[in-house]
């Protein structure tokens, strides 16, 4: 077409409605929905169905089209899971270290709080970045809605941020202020534990089959991974003896727990094999397996006889990588899981059958 000359150029932004505003008015509920000329809606890559378009009698789907919507979350969200886990666990460790006044852990406490505040800030930025309307991020604190793990998370994140900031600000203070700082530190620890584990609830509180089926393990996995993350970070950052010992025990526990949780999750999600498919196949399956291996390797590094700085750093890097990859894999697994209608159908049919036969999960 040689130039769309005559349909008026001024009237012609192609917004999917194509209304000449001199003749008609756009004021409906969806009129403010922005639609740019060439962007297709999400899942707009409508796949061409190349088989006979006929539904099967025994195992029907709707042209294999996803029954659910894919998660919208991109890399910022798994990164936030990691950062939240790291920050939260660090705050928890800092609070725990506060208990051991004679352990020479002041530096560790400080560092943990700095990791905490950095993680909370960076994590928060990730969250905002991922929003469709970042300028409205404050709306997260508009209501207090306990049914929404994300809303709870927003309060937890804010709480963790506020208390950590206070604790850091008052870390050198004495007297009442010092106690307040101390107090804030403990509170930050509590918020931190929430921060490190609520994301598991957040992910489990969804209809994506692989996430929903794993909801019992996810908080534990995320908490364990948080422990691994913090330990790994400290392994990389710190060399002082007291820290090393704390980190070692903490890291060992975290890694063992994480690996156990990974296995538990595979089992749980695998109750209906179709549901667990994203953990086995495809990009998410690959990352998931890689995460397991890397975390395992990091554990192995720790168990090697002579612990050197280099080994610790390697173990820390592996632990961090494993933790990041695990979260990335889980986020990534949401997409194929949502895309596969049979995952939901089989999951739910299994549930119905179980209900019928009286066996509970």
């Amino acid at each position: 077409m040689s130039g769309n000359l005559f349909p008026k150029e001024d009237a012609g932004i192609d917004d999917g409605r194509n209304i000449d505003l001199a003749i008609g008015t756009l004021s409906g509920e969806g009129a403010s929905q922005l639609a740019h000329p060439k962007t297709q809606p999400r899942q707009g890559s409508k796949a061409l169905w190349s088989r006979l378009p006929e539904s099967s009698k025994a195992d029907p789907t709707y042209y294999d089209w996803p029954m659910l919507k894919e998660p919208v979350w991109k890399w910022e969200i798994p990164l936030y899971y990691y950062l939240g886990g790291l920050a939260g666990t660090s705050l928890a460790l800092a609070a725990a270290a506060q208990l051991n006044r004679s352990g020479g852990l002041e530096d560790l406490i400080g560092q943990c709080r700095w990791i905490g505040i950095a993680g909370v800030t960076a994590g928060g930025m990730c969250l905002i970045r991922d929003l469709g309307r970042p300028s409205l991020f404050l709306n997260m604190l508009r209501v207090f809605r306990p049914t929404s793990p994300m809303n709870m998370g927003a309060w937890i994140l804010s709480g963790a941020g506020a208390t950590t900031f206070t604790a850091l600000a008052l870390s050198r203070a004495r007297g009442a202020l010092g106690s307040a700082g101390e107090c804030s530190g403990y509170l930050a620890g509590i918020f931190g534990m929430g921060l490190a584990s609520y994301t598991g609830v957040l992910v489990g509180n969804s209809v994506i089959p692989v996430w929903q089926e794993s909801r019992k393990v996810l908080p534990i996995l995320f908490a364990a991974s948080g422990v691994t993350s913090t330990a790994s970070m400290l392994e990389i950052l710190r060399e002082d003896r007291p820290s090393r010992r704390v980190t070692y025990i903490f890291g060992l526990g975290g890694r063992i727990a994480e690996l156990a949780a990974i296995k538990a999750m595979e089992r749980q999600a695998g109750a209906v094999s179709r549901v667990a498919r994203p953990l086995k196949k495809g990009k998410s399956g690959l990352i998931w397996r890689a995460a397991t291996i890397v975390t395992g390797a990091s554990l192995a590094m720790m168990l090697l006889p002579k612990q050197t700085r280099r080994k610790r750093v390697v173990s820390g890097i592996l632990g961090t990588a494993g933790s990041l990859m695990m979260r990335y894999a889980i986020n990534e697994a949401g997409t194929p899981s949502a895309q596969d209608p049979r995952a939901s159908f089989y999951q739910q049919r299994g549930r119905l059958a179980a209900k019928e036969t009286g066996t509970t999960e």
């Binding site: 539904s55 049914t147 929404s148 490190a196």
Partner: protein, 265 residues
């Protein structure tokens, strides 16, 4: 609070004309969803989404309908819409309060509040609500909240030429639906059943404000056979979280104490 309002979509009298889709787009002034030929019978919009709030499914099947003399074949149509669940996953998961329950017992997304976190998207067991990427916010059927406020019928139900989409007070609709089922069963259409008409029918959502009369398995219509609102099962996760927190605390304190003791030793 006014009486609960909803839709009863009787797919046995749907003729697949898509008037509901267009009437919805017209009233709400939504953009198109892309011009893509899908090869999926006569369905080229495929699913509900941010810009498609009514969607007609076309199901060709190698099975005859019991009231029809047309060989081993039938073609089903069904106009899908947001179900406005009694327990709504999107509503309960919405962190901003953008999603609310209205005085008509419907679920409404306030476009001035939504910040596009995308959490509702993974909390809808029907895959209804979606975020439009170029807009950034989540959108779905409002059950014409603006029209309900003026005591008007929602655009889709008003347009529906055969009254396959019926709008009204929920109690009344449910009664109508039950009568219809009885009538169809009497006529020998044993395959007809109600989907989501009550809490008993669908405990996972505690019943739908927009429910359906279907002729095949829900899966054939791309509907879940046993949807559960995540918040109904999330207790498990909160419990685990408690466990995790305890475990974490024990590990942290343990590490600190063990390390401290070790250091002194």
């Amino acid at each position: 609070m006014a009486a609960g309002k909803g839709f009863f979509t009787d797919t046995t009298i749907c003729i697949g004309c898509k008037a509901c889709e267009v009437a919805c787009k017209q009233w709400n002034q939504l953009p198109d969803d892309g011009f893509t030929f899908t090869g999926m019978s006569y369905d080229n919009t495929v699913h509900l989404g941010a810009s498609t709030w009514r969607h007609v499914a076309f199901i060709e099947r190698p099975v005859a309908l019991s009231n029809q003399d047309a060989g081993d074949f039938s073609w089903l149509f069904s106009s899908d819409v947001c179900k406005h669940c009694a327990r709504a996953g999107c509503l309960e998961s919405c962190p901003t309060g953008a999603i609310i329950r209205t005085e008509f017992d419907t679920v409404y997304v306030q476009p001035d509040i939504c910040n596009g976190c995308g959490y509702c998207v993974v909390n809808c067991p029907f895959g209804v609500i979606d975020r439009r990427e170029d807009d950034g916010r989540a959108w779905k059927c409002t059950l014409c909240y603006d029209r309900l406020k003026e005591d008007m019928t929602p655009a889709c139900a008003k347009a529906c030429p055969t009254e396959s989409i019926q709008f009204g007070d929920l109690d009344d609709l449910r009664q109508r639906a039950r009568n219809r089922i009885d009538q169809l069963h009497e006529q020998g259409m044993s395959e007809a059943y109600l989907y989501g008409a009550s809490k008993e029918d669908q405990p996972g959502t505690e019943g739908l404000n927009a429910f359906f009369l279907l002729l095949d398995k829900p899966e054939a219509y791309n509907l879940p056979p046993d949807p559960i609102v995540p918040t109904k099962t999330v207790k498990d996760a909160w419990k685990s979280m408690g466990l995790a927190v305890v475990g974490m605390a024990v590990t942290a304190i343990g590490s600190v104490l063990l390390a401290g003791n070790g250091a002194r030793r």
